[in-house]
């Protein structure tokens, strides 16, 4: 559980100084992690730690650091993403292919190094492969990215990988990369404890330093840094993800330099540029950051220079209105009312001769909003009863009506709650929002709010 601080001078281990410097230069602000890893790896012939567990938040440079070190120093390695390798066979064959330099292609008829179904074969084949490739005592690194997926595989895989060095009797180092802590990996029978290395989040200054690396060549880095600083003042509160910030910086830069290109301002005139970009960035926070408008659309909009960003096609929110058949609309409204109204109030809302309403008492006792608690399940009979009381005219309960209910289920507007029984005592839940149901109700001239318990 240590992240040791090892001085830069000790981080050579037989590699040329240039190589080490190259790693440090491509990966700024990760000096301590890189030197810890290099110290753990040691010389190629040294016995490495049998397993290293690396964790940290999204975009804290975990995979980048490992890949860069392994590739720059040309260490024998295999890098596997556990999301891609969702079965153990894929995982093993992927590792063996990479170690054995076999690339499935049309030339070799998409064959892999060897067929490997279980851990036993994997260890045997890996041992053979290490002898075959004449790695000798050089450490072989096996990197497993998104390692949290390993927990979903067979129970033997994670413990066996953590002690692969012991099982295969070869100089192997298994590196697990994950966003979650090691505690969540622990299982009932325990495993060989790996060396745990934490990659802390980048601070604001570190982020600025990293982002300044992709400054366009036409402008000075200090100009770009001041731009990124402005950008961060708006986005840093909600987003610390380096990838996201870099993406936003690149996306909005053309807008920032627009006054300069037009000749309205100079590079030095920061306040003017700020006044120009600030509302634009505020808008970007609402649209582009939430992916309501795609990046390509945003760029196109900037190029066309449309007046006012509000005229952008708001595609995703437009999708919240769906064309439905007439009775389907009423069925959906009935489902919404059934989900968000307590059963005991049905009589009051939907029958003509209900008893006296003690409004005073109601207001006092009911505090929790049903809108906040989420939809409640309701039986089919209740849905039909509400449907018949709100629909205009006489509707025969034909197969057509019932098939519309099941098609609402398949459209994910209504969901089946108890899936065990399809025919008898089926229960449903309405899964649409209030805004959606209001727009639906408006099209059939039905005032849905008047029937909602929370709003009465």
């Amino acid at each position: 559980m240590a992240s040791g601080k090892i001085g830069k001078d000790s981080s050579c281990y037989g590699y040329s100084k240039e190589r080490i410097d190259e790693i440090h230069n491509t990966l700024p602000c990760r000096e301590s992690q890189i030197s810890t890893l290099l110290a753990l790896f040691g010389k190629p012939s040294h016995a490495a730690y049998s397993s290293i567990f690396i964790y940290g938040h999204t975009a804290s440079g975990k995979s980048a650091v490992i890949t860069t070190i392994l590739q720059t120093l040309q260490l024998p390695h295999a890098i596997v993403n556990c999301v891609e390798c969702y079965t153990q066979r894929l995982l093993y064959e992927h590792i063996l292919n990479q170690v054995g330099d076999v690339i499935p292609s049309p030339d070799n008829n998409y064959s892999c190094y060897a067929r490997c179904d279980n851990m036993n074969d994997f260890v045997r084949l890996l041992k053979n492969l290490i002898e075959e490739k004449e790695l000798g005592s050089r450490t072989l690194f096996i990197v497993l990215d998104k390692a949290e997926r390993l927990r979903d595989m067979d129970a033997n895989i994670l413990p066996a990988l953590l002690r692969l060095q012991e099982l295969s009797n070869c100089n192997i180092c298994v590196i697990l990369i994950s966003e979650i802590v090691l505690e969540k990996f622990r299982t009932g029978t325990g495993f060989h404890e790996p060396f745990v290395l934490h990659f802390p989040d980048y601070s604001k200054d570190e982020m600025l330093e990293i982002i300044s690396h992709d400054c366009p060549s036409d402008y000075s880095p200090s100009f770009y840094i001041s731009y990124v600083n402005l950008l961060m003042s708006i986005f840093y509160m909600v987003c610390r993800d380096l990838n996201e910030l870099r993406h936003l910086a690149q996306l909005n830069f053309p807008k920032y330099i627009e006054p300069i290109l037009k000749g309205e301002a100079t590079v030095e005139n920061a306040p003017k540029l700020w006044r120009n970009i600030q509302p634009h960035l505020q808008k970007a926070l609402q649209t582009i950051y939430l992916r309501e408008v795609s990046s390509a659309q945003w760029e196109k909009y900037q190029l066309e220079n449309v007046e006012g960003a509000g005229s952008l096609p708001n595609l995703l929110s437009l999708r919240s209105s769906v064309e439905l058949p007439y009775y389907s609309k009423y069925l959906l409204i009935a489902a919404y009312l059934a989900s968000y109204n307590p059963t005991r109030t049905d009589k009051r809302f939907f029958s003509k001769h209900h008893g006296k309403i003690n409004k005073h008492k109601l207001k006092k006792t009911e505090k929790i909003s049903f809108q906040l608690l989420g939809p409640k399940p309701f039986p089919l009979e209740r849905l039909m009863a509400i449907f018949y009381s709100i629909v205009e005219g006489k509707v025969a309960p034909t197969a057509n009506i019932f098939s519309q209910i099941s098609s609402l289920v398949s459209l994910h507007l209504v969901s089946h709650v108890s899936s065990d029984d399809q025919l008898d005592s089926a229960k449903y839940k309405c899964t649409v929002s209030l805004d959606f149901i209001r727009s639906i109700a408006r099209t059939v001239n039905f005032d849905v709010v008047r029937y909602l318990y929370d709003f009465v």
Binding site: V181, K184, G188, G190
Partner: protein, 399 residues
Amino acid sequence: PKRGYLTPSIPQRYQPCNFPRSPLEAARAKLHVSAVPDTLPCREMEFEDIYAFVESKVLDGNGGCMYISGVPGTGKTATVHEVLRTLEQATEEGMVPSFEFIEINGMKLTEPHQAYVQILKQLTGQKATPEHAGNLLEKRFNRQSAPRQKTVILLVDELDLLWTRKQNVMYNLFDWPTRPHAKLIVLAIANTMDLPERIMMNRVSSRLGLTRMTFQPYTHTQLQQIVLSRIRDIDAFDDDAVQFAARKVAAVSGDARRALDICRRATEIAELQSKDLNQLVDISHVEKAIQEMFSSPKIVAIRECSLQEQLFLRAVVSEFRESGLEEAPFSKILKQHSSICRLEGVQPPTTSEVSAVCCRLGSSRLVLVEGGRNDMHQRVRLNVSQDDVFYALKPKGKM
């Protein structure tokens, strides 16, 4: 059909086995559970019964079933084997017509239907798939005129493992003897007395019939006799030592294997303790062997735990005391743990450290935990009694 031309064999030893030199070594060789004696003491009655049953069936040339039950280590298989050895001697003397003996063991089969394959292989040397073997056996036992066919004695050990959902393997095994010309005698062995009533369908248990025999667990005198009969002419054991071992085992299980193992272990302990080769095994050695075999290692494990692990166990117990339940979420135990740490003047560990402690105790099964996935909400239970924890964690001076 495939035929076995080659006999499987294992490589020969380069040196012959060591010959026992001292009385203790000789006693150990004799006391080994695999050294089955020629005559089984204390099972004369059962021997007579099984012998009479099988002999009468062989003499009459018809078939039948017998169900033999009893707890492990009561000499069921050994007795049946002895019966068959005696019967073979009788056929050599011409008293009984000759017969074939085949044996299957449910535990050695990968799958219940493999029983057919084994039976066919032992009967004819033929290899076949389970289905085909079943058909061939069906044909064989159904044959109308089998002119000079020998009686077949089939011993089915670990019968309960031949259970399938449709029970067709069991059904066939007990149905073939009832065929007119099958000449098949089935001796089925299992542990539970009421197995036919419990797991078999009515048509299967009725074919099994009511010829049943139960092997009672050995009493202490019988166990004593068994051990003494094995080391009859070796001067290695004190009489009291054997009696003590027999009484201890009889009180728990009546398992002869257990008694023999304890005596063997006692000879080893005696040998370790003194260099004298003619040392007698006395009651103290047996006592030690029994301690080794019967005592629970949990209290020792708790005593050898690290400080934080012991504090965690105390936290679990005090949480249980407080809530009155036998189960608590990790978050509550964590709270108890840190307050106990403060009381003891120990720096309270971090949550990940406590979680590691919890996982370690869980993997040694002192506590039962769920996986680490639901970390704060994982429920923790003790796998030892609370009194054991207190007893183990009491300071040594106060005991």
